[in-house]
Amino acid sequence: MIRALLFAVGGVMLAGIIHIVSVLQVPAFAPQDTWSRIADIAPLDRFLRIRADTDDDAVHIPMLDPMMEHAVCRYSLEAGAVRMRATLPDTYWSVALYNRRGENIFSINDRAVATKDLDMLVLTPDQLAIIRENPPEELQDILIIETDDMQGFALLHVFNGDTTLTPEIHAGLDAARCEIRPF
């Protein structure tokens, strides 16, 4: 009896270890994580307009608000800082940065941005130190986001409550820039 109990306890402890290891390993092995989906559709350093609801599985990012228009830019800081710029209509909009694992690392909405347009520089602390040595004048009007994550993606959301704004929003998102040469 004691013997069977010991084996049962051993089995449950093994179950605990397997439980923890497999839960922690899911993000590393999930084939459909956001980065892989986005890498399939979005080229580096350019905003691509995407739809919230589409029947094409490859370009589907779940849980995007269907009442917003969206654009995604996949970036890498290996080659330098990335500057994101967009001029959008006077409606709610927001931008969020995600690291490679799809975790949100920064977000801001139109009211919180000091300027009317989006003008944001994403870089590593080292890259910022280099720019600060000889700062261009326009640097003070740019939203500066420091990150240690070398790769990631940005999502721009623009509220489209009234279809009359659709052409203007599409034009704004299509013209949105996400580029390595910042100055």
């Binding site: 049962a8 009442m67 927001s94 995600y98 801001i108 909405n109």
Partner: protein, 202 residues
């Protein structure tokens, strides 16, 4: 001297017991991990009248279960500077939401500059409906005299705020509050959320 229980090794029995323990361990471990990840959205979340919010999900502070759940679905979370998404999978009486029933969503939302209400069908997709109505938002909804609203979710046409749906098995309702002071768990408990009452079923 007290006699210790004797563990005389009998090879066949030992191998059988070891095998049993390993099967038990692997089965329980993988099974519980699967169930936990399937319900990973519920870990570290706040429930307000049936609406569930997970402010930490999809951030580097997320617990391992919701991190695993997010990695499997590939979804992205709203950032705290954008707003907060609340998901309802059950009506106010606790029944799972289904496209086979009508629902009335009534009441008020917490303070926000803008909110949108949309519906997800099976597989976390936006409800595709032929009328082009993918959701309601705070600027286009018809309100009662006291400022509250009433949305009727149904497969057949209704007057007022009608949200047309298809008769799918599962439904999830998503209320997104944009530019809201409500972004952390502690500020959420006392919030007024709309109720979801079930009407007629097919």
């Amino acid at each position: 001297m007290p006699s210790l229980p004797s563990f005389r090794i009998r090879p066949v029995r030992f191998v059988l017991e070891l095998f049993g323990a390993i099967v038990l361990g692997v089965g329980l471990g993988l099974g519980s991990a699967y169930l936990a990840v399937e319900n990973g959205h519920l870990v570290d979340s706040v429930a307000i009248s049936g609406w569930i919010a997970s402010p930490n999900a999809g951030t580097p502070e997320a617990d391992p279960y919701s991190a695993a759940a997010f990695a499997r679905t590939g979804e992205v979370a709203l950032g705290s500077g954008e707003g907060l998404a609340l998901i309802a999978e059950r009506d106010s009486a606790g029944n799972l939401l289904t496209g086979k029933c009508d629902y009335v969503i009534a009441g008020n939302t917490p303070p926000a500059r803008l909110w949108t209400l949309s519906i997800l069908e099976d597989g976390w997709r936006s409800a595709a409906n032929p009328r082009g109505r993918v959701g309601f938002h705070s600027k286009d909804i018809l309100r009662e005299a006291d400022g509250s609203f009433r949305i009727v979710v149904s497969t057949s046409a209704k007057s007022g705020n009608w949200f047309p749906i298809r008769d799918t098995e599962r439904l999830r309702m998503v209320l997104r509050l944009y530019d809201t002071p409500v972004t952390s768990g502690s500020t959420m408990i006392e919030l007024e959320m709309p109720t979801i009452e079930r009407g007629a079923c097919i």
